[in-house]
């Protein structure tokens, strides 16, 4: 399904191009965004690394990154692949793999995160009703500022 892959791609480019202000608009008004780890998921533990319910909370995250939090200038490069799609009447389920490379201002480049997206996408709006980011590793280098 082209629209789903297109949604994933536009999402990734917005983050990688530092258009953080566009990020909440990839979600429905009450869309949920959650970063988890595979370990906690497997143990049935609910702890999120980041957890936003609805666009206002997503916008708060962006505002805080822009105006409150202190972190070194950095960029991501998302690579998304192996997109699986399961179509339903009101929503589409999608599972995909991702790699995120982090590039610091001095050029230092590292594989920052790998994992899978588990999405529920509204058919009507073609936006994420829920995007769960399940990181393969429990380990995060220094800090996680920009969303995955």
């Amino acid at each position: 399904m082209k629209e789903v892959e297109n949604l994933h791609a536009r999402y990734a480019h917005a983050l990688d191009d530092d258009r953080l202000e566009d990020w909440p608009n990839f979600f429905t008004e009450r869309g949920v965004y959650r970063i988890a780890t595979a370990e906690n998921e497997a143990r049935g533990l609910p702890l999120p690394v980041v957890y936003c319910e609805g666009r206002p909370m997503l916008r708060d995250r962006v505002q805080s990154l822009r105006h409150a939090n202190i972190y070194e200038p950095q960029r991501y490069r998302h690579v998304i692949s192996s997109v699986l799609i399961e179509e339903g009447k009101d929503f589409i389920k999608s599972a995909s793999s991702f790699l995120v490379v982090r590039i610091m201002e001095n050029g230092e480049t590292m594989l920052f995160a790998s994992g899978r997206y588990q999405d529920r996408i509204s058919v009507k709006e073609m936006l994420y009703e829920e995007r769960v980011v399940i990181c393969d590793s429990r380990r995060f280098d220094t800090l996680l500022a920009i969303p995955l």
Partner: protein, 407 residues
């Protein structure tokens, strides 16, 4: 022996070689982590079942923490007596006994060597001499103490009791949080590009919180003008700082032109994330508590967590976070704790900067091992007080560290 000497100013200076010197790092393992200190091992809730175990670290040492069939808790070095391989590879699980994968030597839950495979050989051939004493190389065993749901261990016979070690200033503040059985919500690891002591130093630095962490200040979660205080143990090793819930209406930060107060337009659209229920009943919104050498307990609103500091070389540290609630939390409280998980951890609104700031120090001092930190806020003494514009707890850390290191 270390060929280093402390700056003549004493308590108000910390030379930068403490974060860089390989010999100092090696000596710390011996004198501090294997010495008369208590190290955090895990939550009791993580090994609730008989015969369950977790693996962890004390300093560089890999450690197994296990509950035996009758409920007793033990901890031992995760090193086989035979060739030194890890006895247990899993992060957690259940086991009737532990078998080293390499040659199948087996251990009980206390780390006692039970069986050496083919010790007597087969059909009279091979095997070990009857005089062989592989037990002389047995993994080290910890003395273990469970305190209100937290498990601590020490390798030293000289260590005082856990309660005596923590002391009367900080012990009540530890009890204050651990009032009921705990429930694990999840865990993760933050990798810090700096020496382990820079993180401990940061935790004990009550002066930085509202200056570095703009999120705090901007939303008046924690300003130094709010009522609060700091407790430091007699020996300086442990500390606790707290802030009351009362909202600060003053403008001391604005008057001083602080960066942290400058972004006037910034307002939360969804402040429900910050709503606190005063579950401990004393109106404290934040309490940060540290136990030397590597344990931190936080209460930030309704977020509760144990942070374990695991050194991984002079300039690398792992911070193992375990967030928890109480076993009897209702759905609303669990949801509140999960929303407030946004405040902490590697992506935490108010804690992500700590990883960055401590790394900046490690990098900043690269060429200046013989220069020193200036730690003079609040004078040169170590002690409790009602102001957080002080570095008294930081001086405490170094007082304790120097006493262990004989420097």
């Amino acid at each position: 022996m270390l060929e280093r000497s402390w700056p003549s100013e004493g308590a108000t200076r910390v030379p930068y070689w403490v974060y860089q010197d390989e010999a100092v790092y090696a000596e710390e393992q011996r004198r501090i982590f294997h010495g008369p200190t208590w190290s955090y091992l895990c939550l009791e809730a993580e090994i609730a079942e008989p015969q369950s175990f977790v693996t962890t670290f004390v300093g560089e040492m890999p450690v197994v923490v296990a509950r035996d069939a009758s409920g007793g808790i033990h901890a031992f070095e995760n090193r086989c007596a035979h060739r030194g391989a890890l006895i247990c590879m899993q992060a957690r699980g259940k086991a009737e006994r532990f078998s080293c994968i390499y040659h199948n030597w087996t251990y009980d839950h206390a780390g006692n060597l039970l069986n050496v495979a083919f010790r007597k050989g087969i059909a009279g051939k091979g095997g070990m001499s009857p005089e062989a004493k592989p037990e002389t190389q047995a993994p080290k065993q910890f003395k273990v103490h469970a305190f209100q749901g937290l498990v601590f261990g020490t390798l030293s016979k000289e260590a005082p009791s856990f309660e005596e070690y923590v002391g009367p200033e900080v012990l009540p503040r530890l009890k204050r949080v651990l009032v009921k059985p705990l429930k694990v919500l999840g865990c993760y690891t933050q990798v810090l590009p700096n020496n382990w002591k820079l993180y401990m130093d940061n935790v004990k630095d009550t002066y930085h919180a509202s200056l570095l962490h703009v999120f705090f200040t901007r939303f008046r979660i924690n300003r130094l003008t709010q009522q609060g205080g700091v407790f430091v143990s007699q020996d300086g090793a442990h500390h606790c700082t707290y802030t009351k819930m009362v909202e600060d209406k003053g403008d001391a930060y604005e008057k001083d032109g602080m960066r942290s107060a400058s972004s006037q337009a910034f307002k939360l659209e969804s402040p429900e994330m910050l709503h606190q229920v005063d579950e401990l009943g004393d109106g404290v919104s934040i309490q940060i508590l540290s136990l030397f050498p590597g344990f931190v307990l936080h209460q930030i609103r309704n977020s509760l967590a144990a942070r374990q500091i695991v050194p991984k070389g002079v300039d690398r540290t792992e911070l193992h976070w375990t967030l928890f609630g109480f076993a009897d939390d209702d759905e609303a409280m669990t949801r509140r704790r999960l929303l407030q998980a946004n405040l902490v951890g590697p992506a935490g609104y108010i804690s992500m900067e700590d990883g960055a700031a401590t790394g900046f120090v490690q990098r900043g001092v690269a060429a200046s091992p013989d220069r020193a930190s200036v730690i003079e806020m609040g004078g040169d003494k170590v002690g409790s007080g009602d102001s957080r514009i002080t570095e008294t707890a930081v001086r405490g850390l170094w007082k304790a560290w120097r006493s262990h290191m004989d420097l």
